[in-house]
């Protein structure tokens, strides 16, 4: 905290208080986590059921409507949950302000890019390339 001698503590605090959004991160992490319980179990079961599948079988499996829809929802939810989770880790362990900010930006960009890449791949398989 920089000392700005002429400003009162109240003056510094005004406009920096609660934005009434304090629970949003917590709530979204819980909501995505709750969704990932059935999605994660489905993912493990469906992957195990197709161990050793060849290329054609894999395309037929991933391209069918229900697996494709669930996989897209899984990817979107997973990367949302991942971004929220790693954000807390960054905020906990990185204390240099610009490194923290750069990490948070890179995290958001990276998760968004990976989610789009994964969803694009599933759509291409399902809808034909």
């Amino acid at each position: 905290m920089e000392q700005q001698g002429m400003r009162s503590p109240l003056g510094r605090a005004i406009g920096l208080g609660s934005a009434k959004e304090g629970v949003e991160h917590w709530w979204r992490q819980r909501l995505t986590g709750l969704a990932l319980v059935p999605l994660g179990l489905w993912f493990v079961v469906t992957i195990l059921g197709h161990v050793g599948a060849d290329y054609e079988e894999t395309l037929a499996w991933l391209g069918a409507p229900i697996p494709a829809i669930l996989m897209i929802v899984l990817i979107g939810t997973t990367f949302y949950h991942t971004a929220l989770g790693i954000q807390v880790v960054i905020e906990d362990y990185i204390h240099q302000e610009w490194v923290k900010l750069a990490s948070l930006v890179a995290l958001r960009f990276g998760c968004f890019l990976l989610a789009v890449a994964g969803i694009f791949a599933v759509l291409r398989i399902a809808l034909g390339g």
Binding site: P9, G11, R30, V37, I86, R124
Partner: protein, 145 residues
């Protein structure tokens, strides 16, 4: 004049941090089931984040064509790939089971010490058991297919 009134407490606001003792560091704090599971939740979450890279690579490979898919499959089927998969399976089951434990806590239930330990050991047993089942099921499917 609230501003002038508050200015009186300025010296207090700019007091340097007191020379208080620090809370116990990890090196001297005895590990407990609760703390170990807590940091494991974070560690498995990070491990799973790395695992998502493989999932996206594998999906992109399948979407790209047979050669790219064969390349991804040969990595996944290698001993290192299988080792990673088993590690990620354990991480997923642990994070999932302990995540459910967290969701129950969020409803305000099971927060006393006895229940916390009971559910903690249940998470350890369930995630180990589910991983074992998944590995056996995966190996059976592999030899069938």
């Amino acid at each position: 004049m609230p501003a002038r009134f508050v200015r009186g407490s300025q010296t207090e606001a700019f007091m340097p941090p007191a020379d208080r003792p620090l809370s116990p560091h990890l090196q001297i704090y005895k590990p407990q089931l609760t703390s170990v599971l807590s940091i494991s939740h974070r560690a498995t979450g990070l491990a799973l984040s790395v695992g998502t890279l493989l999932l996206v690579w594998w999906l992109l490979a399948a979407a790209t064509g047979p050669e790219a898919y064969a390349q991804a499959q040969s990595f996944i089927g290698s001993w290192f790939g299988v080792l990673l998969l088993v590690g990620w399976a354990y991480s997923l089951f642990f994070h999932l089971c302990n995540g459910v434990r967290h969701l129950v806590w969020d409803t305000g239930h099971g927060l006393d010490i006895a229940t916390t330990y009971a559910t903690g050991w249940a998470v350890v047993a369930a995630s180990a058991g589910l991983t074992l089942i998944a590995v056996v099921a995966g190996l059976l499917q592999w030899h069938q297919g």
